[in-house]
Symmetry: C2
Subunit: 106 residues, 2 copies
DNA sequence: TGAAATACTTCGCGATACGATGTATATCAT
DNA sequence: ATGATATACATCGTATCGCGAAGTATTTCA
C-alpha cells in the first residue's frame, strides 16, 4: 500500500482499533496488521497526537511486570470516526473521477 | 476534505485528468475542482514530479501570446492508474475495518 | 484604465510516516 | 541456565509533500 495513501487513514484506523474495547500499542498494531501495517514509531507518534487532540485518553496498568498504556476513545474520537464517513463519500466521488472512461472532457 | 487524505490521491487524480486528452495546468485544476481542489503551487509540483518519474511528457505551445505546457500521459502513467485499482481494493478493506461494528476483537 | 482571469514559477513552513536505535521484562526452546 | 524471540514503549533525524505567499506576464472585459 502506497505510503501517501496511508496518511489520513492511519489516524482513523487507530481510533477504529480502540472503538469497541480499550487497547494498548502492541495489540493495536497486531489488530490492524491484516488491513494496514504501521511501525511502532509511527503508532506511538499517532497515539500521542490523538491524545493531545483529545481523541483518546490513556491509563497505565501493570501487566505481568511490564508496563502497559491502555487507550480509551473519547466522544471526540467517536465524532472523528463519524466524520470520516463524509470524507469517504468524497473519496468515492474521486474514485469515480479517476476510473471514469472517455468522453467526460467537454 | 482532510489534507492527509488527499495525499496519494492527488497524483492519480492529475494523471486521470490527462488520461483521455492532453491538458495544461490551469485546465487540470478546473477539471479536478468539482472532485478535489488543489492550489497552483501544489499542481505544478506534482506535474514536475510526475514528469521526472516518467508518468507524463511535456510539450510547450504558444496559445494567444501565453505560454502553455501540455501534459501527455505515458504508458507508465497509465500503468500507475491501473495499479491504483489494487490500492483501492485495499482501501475498501480498510474502510470495512474502520466502519465495522462490535464484536470483532476476539 | 484598471480589475479579473489566464498561466506558470519559486520559496519556506508545517505535518507526518518511518527506519534506526534504545530500554526493559517475559517466554520458550535447547 | 542461557540465549533467542516476543512483548512494550520511547526518541531522534530524515524525506516527502501540500500549501500559502509572492512574483512575472499576458489577455479579456467592464
Amino acid at each position: 500500500m502506497d505510503i501517501q495513501l496511508k496518511r489520513g487513514l492511519l489516524d482513523v484506523c487507530v481510533l477504529a482499533a480502540i472503538k469497541n474495547d480499550d487497547s494498548y500499542g502492541y495489540k493495536i498494531i497486531k489488530d490492524m496488521k491484516p488491513y494496514i501495517e504501521l511501525s511502532e514509531s509511527t503508532l506511538y507518534t499517532i497515539l500521542k497526537r490523538l491524545e493531545s487532540s483529545q481523541m483518546l485518553t490513556v491509563r497505565m496498568f501493570e501487566y505481568q511486570g511490564r508496563l502497559r498504556k491502555y487507550y480509551h476513545i473519547t466522544k471526540q474520537g467517536l465524532k472523528r470516526l463519524d466524520e470520516f464517513n463524509d470524507d469517504w463519500k468524497e473519496m468515492l466521488a474521486i474514485h469515480r473521477f479517476i476510473t471514469r472512461e472517455e468522453g467526460s472532457n467537454e
